[in-house]
Each structure stands twice: as structure tokens, then as C-alpha cells.
Symmetry: C2
Subunit: 136 residues, 2 copies
């Protein structure tokens, strides 16, 4: 299951990417337009800012805005920040590899074998999709 955090984060990113100029948009505005709990969205936008996707401006006329071009934002990085590792098990993760403590031999593990394929398939999708591809 995709977490609401990721879902909301993606929606917010596309919303900001769709803004004519890169004028700051207030949290409340995004929350209202996209039907998102404002407080929850607040924390999501914050992590997106901390991870270099968004900029922010305080005070009157402030808000959040996209920093990079939508075509330069790969889904790999978005998913990793919002949803966590792309691999479904740590033992097939590229960026967060960890050995399973219950599994004596990775080479003959059926879970490992299957999840390796799944990881590759997902990576293929995420690498070849940018934020620009998701805007209608």
C-alpha cells in the first residue's frame, strides 16, 4: 500500500509544478485544492524542502515553490524521500542494503530472487518517470 504521505506529497508536487510562475503557494491553498489535512501536509512539505525539492518563504506572500524543473525530478528520488527504500526487502536494496538475520544464504533464497526482479522493474519505472510526465 502507498502511504498517504507519499500520495499527498506527489499531489502537492504536481500542484506546485502546475503553477504558471514559480510563485510561492501557501500550505492552506494546496491543502484545500487537493483535499489534504493541512497539518499533515505541513510536515510533508517540510521534508520535501529539507530534501531539496522545494523552497519556502515565510511571512506575507510566502509559501512553498518548486526549486527544480519538473523534468529534472526523477521519481526514484521522490519515492525514496517520501516512501522510503524502493526495494521491498533490505537484502535487495541498492541504497539501504542489509542482510536478513533469519536467512542463512541469500543466493538460494526465493524471496531474494523474486524481490530482486520486482526491484528492477520498479526502478525501471521510477527512473524513466519525472514529475513532468505526471502533469496533465
Amino acid at each position: 500500500m502507498l502511504s498517504k504521505k507519499t500520495k499527498y506529497g506527489l499531489k502537492a508536487l504536481t500542484f506546485l509544478a502546475s503553477q504558471p510562475d514559480r510563485e510561492p503557494v501557501q500550505i492552506a491553498e494546496v491543502a484545500k485544492q487537493e483535499n489534504i489535512s493541512q497539518k499533515f501536509l505541513e510536515s510533508i512539505l517540510l521534508t520535501l524542502r529539507r530534501n531539496g525539492f522545494l523552497g519556502s518563504k515565510k511571512g506575507k506572500g510566502g509559501g512553498y515553490y518548486l526549486i527544480k524543473e519538473p523534468k529534472d525530478i526523477q521519481m526514484t528520488s521522490v519515492m525514496r524521500v517520501l516512501e522510503g527504500p524502493i526495494a521491498m526487502v533490505p537484502c535487495v536494496s541498492l541504497n539501504f542494503y542489509e542482510k536478513c538475520d533469519d536467512c542463512p544464504n541469500e543466493g538460494v533464497c526465493s524471496v531474494n530472487k523474486l524481490m530482486l526482479k520486482v526491484r528492477d522493474a520498479n526502478l525501471e519505472v521510477y527512473r524513466n518517470t519525472t514529475l513532468a510526465d505526471l502533469i496533465s
Copy 2:
């Protein structure tokens, strides 16, 4: 993240598929060999039996055994039974479709767009992988 339920279920299936004949194997034996909490495994094997993957035999000399040939067990069905819908959001699910209540228009939803691709990629993997492919 893959649930332990799915992980253990897959391991149990491969273990049973690796048995020379299709002699019943006791839960305790599977649990020990694969490092799985026995009672948890018990409930997993039960759902695998109820869904037509396994047969069981009670009493002395009893246990669980594979019903179908490993090459006839597609990962699509295994994953659906153990992990649930393959789609990460209900609005792109083939077998469990549901409209998002917060999303006014599926056609212009970025989450929908992305998760549709992901679903297809995963289906491709699961459809083309059988239990036989996971045995070393």
C-alpha cells in the same frame, strides 16, 4: 515493505516445493528449517491451504504438502493471497478497484498515472514468475 507473512509464506512454499516426493511435512519442521515463528507460520499455511495451494493431513505422519506443480503456481496469485492487492492504490487495482474519495478526477491524477505504470511493471514480473523459477 514486504510483510513477514508474505516472506514466510513464500519460504514455506519453496521449502515444500523442494521436497523430493510430495510427502506431508510438519509445521514444526518447516518453521525450524526456515527460522519462522511456528504459530505464525501455522496461520499462514492455513490460508495457503484455504486458497488451494496446499493440502494437509492430520494426525500422526501428517503435515502440509504442495497440491499443484511449482511451475503452475504464478506469483500473481501467491502475492494476492499473502500480501493483498498488487496495485499500490485501489484506483489502479484490477481485482479490487475502488475510487479515491479525495480525488475528483482520476484522469488527471498524478498518483494514478504513476501507480498505473508501477502496477503494470509488477504484474509483468509476477505473471512471468512461477514457484518453479524460485527454486535453486
